[in-house]
Structure formats: C-alpha cells, structure tokens
Symmetry: D2
C-alpha cells in the first residue's frame, strides 16, 4: 500500500446492503466520512473549535471509483493520506481494502476547502503545518 497515514477497520452491517446483496454505493461515502473525521480527531483538529474561530471546513468535490463490491459479512480497512490540490484546496486520498485478502475495493478522492467568517477561502496555519503543506 502507498504511504497512507491513517487507517480504520470496519465491518459491513447488513442494513448497509441493498437488493443486490452488496453495500449500496452511497454507503461508501459514510465509510469515507467517518474515516476522515476519526483522522482529524486523531490530529486534535476540532471542527467545533475551528468554527468558533470562524474557520469552516467543507467538502467541495468527491470522486469515487468502485472496483469491487463489499458484501454482507466482509471486514475491511479504510486508509487515508493527504494531498495538496491547490493553494486553498486539500485532498483526502482514501482507499478501502477488503480483509483479509487486501483486495482494493474502492478508491476515493475527497477535495475540501476552508472558509473564514467572511465566506472567503482561508487555510489555517495549523492545517498547513499538520499536513506538511508548506
């Protein structure tokens, strides 16, 4: 696996599967979001505290490639690394691998930005630092 910086293990829950007996396509966004939020917590990045200072993180774009479907009973790990997209945009590169065979199931790129109180893009110093974006 490429140099991912965070990983989280999950197990498919039956209510996440649809008529085809596989995880519904939209549910992968739930997995990816939960992974990002746990990653940010692991860095002590606190949405609420940022919001109080007038910094709002938001998702601007999501790209998901579906390689193979997860099924009822599958376990998997969701991994993540950061990528600078532009001066003001950051990307979460996120992969999902089935366990135990480590087959790549889903690849995602989630592009975010942060906006200040006046609605203008502004990437706070602490994020630039923690993500090694200088």
């Amino acid at each position: 696996m490429e140099d991912f910086v965070f990983e989280l293990e999950f197990k498919v829950r039956d209510y996440e599967c649809d008529i085809q007996g596989v995880v519904n396509n939209s549910v992968y966004q739930n997995y990816l979001e939960h992974t990002r939020h746990e990653y940010l917590k692991s860095l002590n990045i606190d949405f609420a505290e940022l919001a109080e200072r007038g910094i709002f993180l938001m998702v601007k774009r999501v790209e998901i490639d579906y390689q193979r479907p997860l099924k009822s009973g599958d376990s998997f790990i969701s991994v993540l690394r950061m990528e600078r997209i532009s001066q003001l945009r950051f990307g979460f590169v996120q992969h999902i691998y089935r366990l135990p065979d480590k087959k790549l199931m889903v690849k995602g790129l989630v592009i975010g930005t942060s906006v200040n109180k006046r609605g203008r893009p502004e990437l706070p110093e602490e994020l630039i630092k923690v993500w090694g974006f200088e």
Copy 2:
C-alpha cells in the same frame, strides 16, 4: 380509515430496501419522522422557535408493528392522529397504507414529551390547544 388528521404520500426508494428486497425495518422510522415533522410544520409549530423559548420536544418511546413489507416500487400514504397519553405525554398514532390497495403495512405509536429550560416536563399551551388536549 380511522379519523386521521394528516397524510403524506411517499414512494419507496431502492436504496431503502435491503438484501431481502423489502424496505429495511429501520427506514419506517424515517417515514414516520418525516410525516410528524411535516404535520408539525402544517400546524406552524416551529422547533427552532420553541427551542429559543426553552421548550424542547423529544421522542420518549416508539412502538412499531410490522404487518406486511413494502417493496421496491411501492407507493404508500403515511397518516397520523394525536392521542393524549398522560398529563405530560402525547402520542402520534401513525399508520402506513400501501397504494392503491390501502392494505395496512405498518402501525406505529410514537410517544413524545416536552421539556423546559430547567429540564422539567412542560407541555406548552399552544400544543395543548392545537391538539385539543384540554
């Protein structure tokens, strides 16, 4: 049908169905909640405005009887009437009927209460009035 005071029409969405090809049991709670919220809006009962005055509505108990399963492609109506449960508790009696045959699919009773700023149960006058609970 019994004397229901509100109704809302829905159509099953495929992502709401599970491996068995029927609407997942938990999704009926989504249908029932959406029906209650639309009903309250139709009465001009505004959660946000109540909250500002320190009145918080909350669900204390849910009872759902599953009679027949809704399937992909089904349309249905969700109907509602109020019932006073006790001095401080009110009940939403909620049924779901499939269309067009009006078969009863699900029966629900959702019991709520309201709490004031000090965390004490308090049913505001406007709810008692609008629900005919005097």
Copy 3:
C-alpha cells in the same frame, strides 16, 4: 447489568447524528439490528441456509425506549438476551449503554417470528434449543 448473553461495542459516527447534534432516533434500530445479526452469526444461525430450508425469520414488532441521547464521539455497548414471548414468538431484549460510564441510553424489545414455506408460523427445533425455550 442483567444476564445478557451477547455484547457488541460501537462508536457513534457523525453521519448518524442529526440537526440536534444527537444520534437520530431511527439509527438505534440500525445498531439493534446489527447486534442481532452478529449474535445470530455467533450462534451459527444462517439466514440463507434457513431460507433454503423454507424457514423465514421476521421482525413483527419493535418497542424502543429512549432514555438519554448518544452524541458525536460517544462509544457504547449494545447487549442482548432472548425471551420467549409466546409459543411462536421470540423476543430480543436489547439495551444500549454508553461507555465508559455505563449509563443506560436505550432499551429495546424486538419481537420476531419464523414462518415456513406455506406462510405458517413455525419455530424450528434448532432455535428452540439454542435459545433454551423447551
């Protein structure tokens, strides 16, 4: 805690929380369902294999008491024990306790039955045995 026979640990995911900042009422049904399915798997009760033999397990009724709301970041355990409701109905008694303080958040009773190929209620011997219902 009462004599529960199965437990599963969870962590609240942010997408499960609603505008009030707490886990949406319907999501507890997801937690309870996942707990039941994992419990049945732990007993080697296989839905698919039962279905092939013409035995279908289904939920007939759900009762949920909401005591306290789970919030973003909360961990909890979901525990379960069986109760015979009638000749043909079985109940899953399910509690959710927040961690680490073990406060009771939600109490559920989920009543199921099983039906044979001819649509008639029939509780298979292996379930009667495994649940100690003789």
Copy 4:
C-alpha cells in the same frame, strides 16, 4: 438548464440533515440514485429482466461537485441526461437545483457499464438505442 431528459422533484427530510443543519454529503448519492432508477423505469428498463438475460448494470465511478448545501425544508429538482463516455461506458449527467430559485446546488457525473454472464462488458442494443448512442 441544459437539455436534460428527466426530472424528479424532492423535498429534504430532516433525518437527511446532519449536525451542521445541512443535507449530509452522502445523501446526495441517494437522491441521484433514486433519480436514475426512476428514469430507467420511465424507459421501461427493468433491472430484474436484464439480470435474467444475464446483463448487469453497475456504477463504476461517481463524481460529485458540491456547490451549495440544501437545508431542512428545501425543495429541489433532480435532473438528468445521458452522455456516452466510451464504447462500453455511459454517463448520467445529473444536476440538483433548489426550488423555487433554481440555484445549482450539486453537479454529478455517474459512470456506469454493463456486464454479461461471463463477466465481460457488453452494452445491450436496447440501451444503445434508447440513449441514442449509435
């Protein structure tokens, strides 16, 4: 609006909103999927019947641009047109516009393919025809 061939009206349901008070990012995929399925039904394209003939439609890639967030109480229309991506891949171009002001909220591109019994890509004649892909 560009030359869309199908539209469906929705209303945001409160359980679809998250802690930020806006529709959760993953829920847009539910809206987009429901729109696609209703569109295919409107063309009399029947998944089940295709599957019996050994033709399986599947989503390979999703791109979503989030322009503005939908909120509790918002109504919107979800519109769609087809685009040929390659010999064997087709794209659903999907936009979501808030009502009544028709502001563009979300843009999606959902790329699908179809696979035959032997697991090989094969786009059936009836889809090529109905989508004007000759």
